[in-house]
Symmetry: C2
């Protein structure tokens, strides 16, 4: 019983997995077909070339999950915590972004960039609001602040080998939990509005 929609979806999901795992150059069309329990020909029929499939996957997947990646909490420390948990839940997301950064820097689709930009704009507005409310030090540039937060959270998942060196062996879930708390504390210290000048 051929069901085109189901086949299409299976291919898409297999492609996400494969590209996240191996990147553009390392991904194999045959493997995608096998994982999707479909045929290569279906891939080319539904998605065109390997490169077109990749673009589509990056566009749709990152766009979709980018939405989720920005939980609706206002507090920055809480947000960082949620983001970290998101990365555990969806490791493919960061991996795909890293591949994208490495393989496609420069030649990125302007439209896609613009669309994804919206996700960050929302977060920026939230930060600015909290600066007006004196919850966050208004002297801090919101963009730089967010970049720093992303950097702190992401690092744990970005360079696992360096983490091992730093920790002198495998890192555990407990370590990650400690890192989350630590990150939260760092953020609180960073955003704390300066104490009123001492007399």
């Amino acid at each position: 019983m051929p069901d085109p929609e189901s086949t299409k979806r299976r291919i898409y999901e297999a492609a996400v997995e494969e590209f996240a795992e191996h990147g553009s150059a390392g991904a194999r069309v045959d493997r995608i077909a096998a994982k999707a329990r479909a045929n290569k020909e279906s891939i080319y029929r539904y998605f065109g070339t390997k490169d077109e499939l990749l673009r589509r996957v990056i566009d749709e997947y990152i766009d979709d999950l980018g939405e989720q990646m920005l939980p609706k909490t206002a507090d920055l420390a809480e947000y960082a915590d949620a983001l970290s948990r998101f990365h555990v839940e969806h490791p493919e997301f960061l991996r795909m972004s890293l591949w994208e950064g490495l393989e496609y820097d420069g030649e990125l689709d302007a439209d896609s960039l613009e669309r994804r930009r919206q996700h960050y704009a929302d977060k920026l507005v939230a930060v600015e609001q909290q600066q007006r409310d004196a919850i966050i030090d208004p002297d801090l540039d919101p963009r730089l602040l967010l970049a720093v937060v992303f950097g702190m959270v992401n690092y744990w998942f970005t360079l696992p080998q360096r983490l091992k060196m730093l920790f002198g062996g495998e890192v555990s879930d407990t370590d990650l939990e400690a890192y989350r708390e630590f990150t939260g504390e760092c953020i609180r210290r960073i955003v704390a509005p300066p104490a009123p000048p001492a007399a």
Copy 2:
């Protein structure tokens, strides 16, 4: 005038370039040969297979530059600044590390790991010393602190596409300069020992 040492060096340098640019799967032996103005056969003679060449490059290059990557300044904020400048000077370094993290996670050579670990151990000791000197809050776990610092500094060079989204367009050198100052300020706020308890 055949000069094996020179050929060897040219191949090595070309390999660094190629692997940093395209990663393991994307790297092409032919391109390395062309860049090195050498022949494929020389590569196999001097370095063995493509994979062996990669291992060698990762090992030696990251080991060599890892040394430089850890400037001899004690102050953490200054260190972060130097690290950021290092990444501008040697973009291949982070790229190679990112490829390594993506492509080789798990199956890393234990020896190489152990050797590189020393670089971080030195830095950890320095942090601990400053904690004893009450320059850095002694409550902070040095490993977590360093991870956070690395994360902040690296982010600028790790996900350029997200940076563009956050900044709404290309980022300039001025932005990077601002980010450096911002990072420094963040670190100072994080490490600041807590004020003596208010009466």
